[in-house]
Symmetry: C2
Subunit: 342 residues, 2 copies
């Protein structure tokens, strides 16, 4: 695939980088000034013309300069881009931004997303740690009055959810005991996704005392288990998209698409590589056709656990963004590993 002449590579690379910087199509003269090549503009024009027919560049219209095509970006990302270290400044910003949330995995991921989004002016989509299966690790029910109690649920990946729940009848020691019986036998150690309303209802029904007393509690457990799943996708900094004039009014549609959450799951999760770049129409969703997605996985305790993805205009600064994403996933993985170890 790399059958481009050195000069073509130089030109393609310069076009991509300049276009990323300025947002304007790049012309032959400008290109000479930029690269310092000692050939005439006509020569460059010939090269550009070839790059166009090969599909790496395209023209918005006849009398404009060239911009990279999707294939052009792809070639750039795969072959031309330098593999930089992260900026000192960005590193500091990341570290400062996430340190306060170190102890709590869910908040850490959320915070990390915000920081990365801020730094890159992109939207950040991430998944809370989880791997394939999230297991219920601990459930606690603390009475706070005659009729109500707080319910707390902790999973294997260190995510904690709590809510208040209210009973119709009195919360007796007996009910509490039976609740813990059910929890110990049917819930602890099970995957959160297995907790269904039906299974909880049957469990509630099997109880000695008034089964109706148990019902609201079981319903609350269900709800927390479900919210566990739902809240795995975390979106941050999506309003950054409005600052890119590339999108124009399309930013609104994209914004709304991102806020739907569900489709994002597919976008983020369907990757194999540790770091994946999806450019423009390579994306499955029409709504992302003018965007690129950079996703990286992070691993907790040596196993893939979640991923962090950035979404921004195709014309994004890949070269400086990628190192930040790499660094962030790296450090987040380490921090979570540390946070949930016994």
């Amino acid at each position: 695939m790399s059958e481009l002449s050195e000069r073509k590579k130089l030109i393609l690379s310069a076009v991509v980088e300049q276009y990323i910087k300025s947002g304007e199509p790049v012309g032959s003269k400008e290109l000479i000034a930029l690269t310092g090549m000692s050939v005439s503009s006509a020569t460059v024009r010939n090269e550009m013309s070839e790059l166009s027919s090969m599909g790496y560049l395209e023209q918005p219209h006849t009398s404009a300069g060239r911009i990279p095509s999707q294939k052009g970006y792809r070639y750039y990302v795969d072959n031309l881009m330098k593999d930089r270290e992260i900026d000192e400044l960005n590193r500091r910003m990341i570290e400062a931004g996430i340190s306060s949330a170190a102890g709590d995995p869910e908040r850490l991921i959320a915070q990390a997303g915000e920081v990365l989004a801020e730094l890159t002016k992109c939207a950040c989509v991430s998944t809370a740690p989880g791997g394939d299966t999230v297991i219920i690790r601990k459930i606690e029910l603390v009475p706070v009055g005659i009729h109500s109690a707080m319910l707390v649920l902790l999973t294997s990946n260190g995510i904690l959810k709590s809510r208040l729940c209210r009973l119709d009848c009195e919360l007796t020691a007996k009910i509490l005991e039976e609740f813990y019986n059910i929890v110990d036998s049917c819930i602890i150690g099970k995957p959160a996704s297995d907790i269904s309303v039906v299974s909880m209802q049957t469990a509630a029904a099997s109880v000695d005392s008034d089964p109706f007393a148990m019902l609201p509690l079981m319903a609350a457990v269900c709800e927390l288990a479900r919210s566990m799943e739902d809240s795995r996708i975390i979106l941050g900094g999506s309003s950054n998209l409005f600052s890119h004039k590339d999108y124009g009014v399309g930013a609104i549609e994209l914004f709304e698409f991102l806020n739907k959450r569900e489709p994002l799951s597919a976008v983020i999760s369907g990757i194999k590589e540790p770091l994946d770049i999806i450019i423009g129409k390579e994306n499955l969703y029409r709504q992302l056709e003018n965007s690129s997605v950079i996703v990286a996985k992070y691993s907790v305790g040596g196993r893939d656990s979640g991923s962090i993805g950035l979404i921004g205009p195709t014309r994004m600064d890949y070269e400086s963004i990628i190192p930040s994403v790499k660094y962030l996933t790296d450090i987040v993985g380490k921090m979570i590993t540390q946070a949930i170890e016994e």
Copy 2:
């Protein structure tokens, strides 16, 4: 102030309502068709001309119809608007939308905001219940491993926060006991806003055993108490603003303003009436100069506890929105009262 002739009132009212509906300036002919008045367009023009010089109407340009000025809206809202009951449909939507979150005040408010925003196509800003002082009601620390525990904090207004925290040393029974001692003596019953890092540190230092063991726990308590305050402002449906062509690209600026959260606090809280309407430039913030805000308080157990506010274009449908806001604050207040009673 009500020194307008009946005919002027009719005309002003019709202009406001029609402009709210169509978004186009209203002309003299249209006005006749609309109201069924039996006078000529010239007469109406004279009246409109007077209303203009009195400051109730204005013209986008010479050869356009009239639109209400801020003063015009104000007069309409104060004197002309009918005091409707809530639509049956809206009522149903609200009830259906919030019933699932009935038990948990914080979620209830969030959900109520979403529903109201959806219904009115405005952004909704609300404050979680709290009144003047939020008191720490219960704190629970549940060990989940040798080095970590989950911390749960409940306040008088029924808001529950939890997070995982991690100790550097082992979490012994002694530490746990000492923790509860501190909690019982220095934290329970105190306002959340009084919990400061300093006060916690001194508390931690007064302990028999290793004070450094206590530090991360106290820090976590602080953080939860602070997040209590911070999360009191809840924003919902802010992306609805993009659907109003009134704002144009200004929607983005407004959106970002709302997302800053802090200033909203002032907007929402600084009201005296049970229901307040702030129109256009009456708002303190420049960013809201093209918006109107409708805020209503809700009360829990007979005392003002929080408020729910809607933000939308000045040209919003006051007549139908106001009943919805009233109804919502009413029902939300009742539900929370029920949820937190013993």
